[in-house]
Symmetry: C2
Subunit: 313 residues, 2 copies
């Protein structure tokens, strides 16, 4: 926590009863909710990789996304967001106005979801913009939604619709925080993951972690209008379904539940407090891998598609 | 949390009873210690600004420092480190071996201080190495050492000795975690800060936060042998005392305590469990600003020196 600029940012943060020691000291001190676990996740976004600043992509949008992806991770654990800390490397040229915009994007989404910004580290350099957000949430003991708890016989459901996020939703992330809370309050969820790298890839990760296989009903996969639009762009060459299965950055939730619970969830979805559609997209079966249901009622292997990170060598 | 390389890192992490859900899920779940507050701090280090990788500066040393500076912040709050999460941007060329070295440096220091690595986000790009560490600690309610609690009449003490950290200690950070725990267990500390930007600058920050002034006994300031060595380098032109007052990155602790407590602390220091020297360097008085005691027993203004961060404009 350093200097006048950070002091300026801190002065704009609302007071929060969860902070025993507010930002501005060597560290912040949080009153952890009694009898709840602490959930923690971190994500880093880099200019030129995760975004390209320009007329269409403001630093405010980057601040929003940087917090949004971490809140999506907290939602995918069935946890309630509490606090976040932010580290940034700002380009020296224009760094201060960039920081103000970043802060506006962070602060707005934080306020929407009741998250207190508990601290930060602001640096400048001759390199591109880098922002790292660590989000802290809370959940009752044993209640976190793991990705390894899917069981044969469960149905798989997804919130909202997938595909085509590059047309804007990849920045304007809407983390399913309230939806996760509404579901966690009423439904026993066996496993959960958020769709960050691609619906089929993220489902396959849940299956690998759970030691199970999934059979997807491809005709049931909810396709976002953006996936249809992207498919229609000149030279795209991919179907709306392919976009829905592989684009990623949808930040929807995939959940595994017992069939009765899944059907009840689908029936209750689409009205408050669960203000999003929920769709059954397949079932969990014994074995390993990912399959698509065939028209004859059989199954055929489905290759998981999505964004695979590359670490060089 | 992504892909095979992160999976490899995770497989090397020791199991930890504090983790209800270990790294590898959307987020980690920590069993927060009962009846303790959560302390959180984040620091980001950037290649070319905070370090220059080369024969003398390995990625292992960078990993050690990245965690070390955050642990020093936790120590300066009188808190016990519990967990850390790490986000990195790796250069594509050589990224994997860099990541392994970084991890080795992090893991070694984490093990030394009982810190569990609870998660991370590993990215690669064409830019320089960036690493951001968020450290979580715990402290009893109301017991955190704030920087705004110094009172007129308190004595100021510092652990160890300051100056010349650029000769190596700025990387080989030894966070005063055990020393802070030993002090917190026995002494009522009114205020604390770690020496990151410069002894005189960090003392002046404690005074500004506390609404008090400090009068330093310059002859008493413990000068590190490295400060003497740097002062003797051709063209240096600064005295060992100037190095001690302004170099920073010493990661020692400055504490404000009542005189009797301070003197008792000094008397007990230097043997287990408080295995570091502690020296009285001045006193807290009413007013504002930073002063040096003159030979006649008066005082004269002392300009705070140290590293001031620049955010561009």
């Amino acid at each position: 926590m350093e200097t006048d600029f950070v002091a300026w940012l801190l002065s704009r943060l609302p007071a929060d009863a969860r902070l025993e020691v507010p930002p501005g000291d060597d560290a912040a001190v949080l009153r952890s909710p009694a009898l709840r676990r602490t959930v923690v996740t971190v994500d880093m976004l880099m200019e030129g990789v995760d975004f390209v600043l320009g007329p269409d992509v403001t630093a405010r949008a980057v601040g929003h996304k940087a917090l949004g992806v971490s809140l999506s991770d907290l939602a995918a654990m069935g946890s309630r967001p509490e606090a976040a800390v932010v580290a940034v490397a700002l380009p020296k040229r224009g760094g201060e106005s960039l920081a103000q915009e970043l802060h506006a994007g962070l602060a707005s989404l934080a306020a929407e979801h009741g998250v207190t910004i508990a601290g930060g580290d602001t640096n400048s350099w001759d390199g591109p913009l880098v922002i790292s957000v660590t989000a802290l949430g809370s959940v009752p003991p044993g209640a976190a939604w793991r990705r390894d708890g899917a069981r044969p016989g469960d149905l798989l459901v997804v919130t909202g619709a997938c595909g085509g996020s590059l047309l804007g939703r990849h920045l304007a992330v809407r983390p399913r925080v309230r939806e996760a809370a509404a579901i966690a309050a009423r439904f026993p969820v066996h496993a959960a993951i958020d769709v960050s790298d691609g619906l089929s890839l993220d489902v396959s990760r849940m299956m690998a972690a759970s030691g199970t296989a999934a059979v997807l009903e491809l005709a049931a996969v909810p396709i976002h209008p953006d996936a249809v639009r992207m498919s229609g762009l000149p030279g795209d060459g991919r179907s709306p379904l392919e976009h829905a299965l592989g684009d990623g950055e949808d930040f929807e939730l995939v959940l595994a539940l017992e069939p009765a619970a899944a059907r009840q969830l689908v029936a209750e979805a689409g009205r408050p407090p669960l203000d999003v559609s929920v769709t059954v997209i397949g079932e969990v079966v014994e074995g390993q891998g990912l399959f698509a249901r065939t028209t004859g009622g059989g199954r055929e292997p489905l290759k998981p598609r999505g964004y695979v990170h590359d670490f060089g060598n």
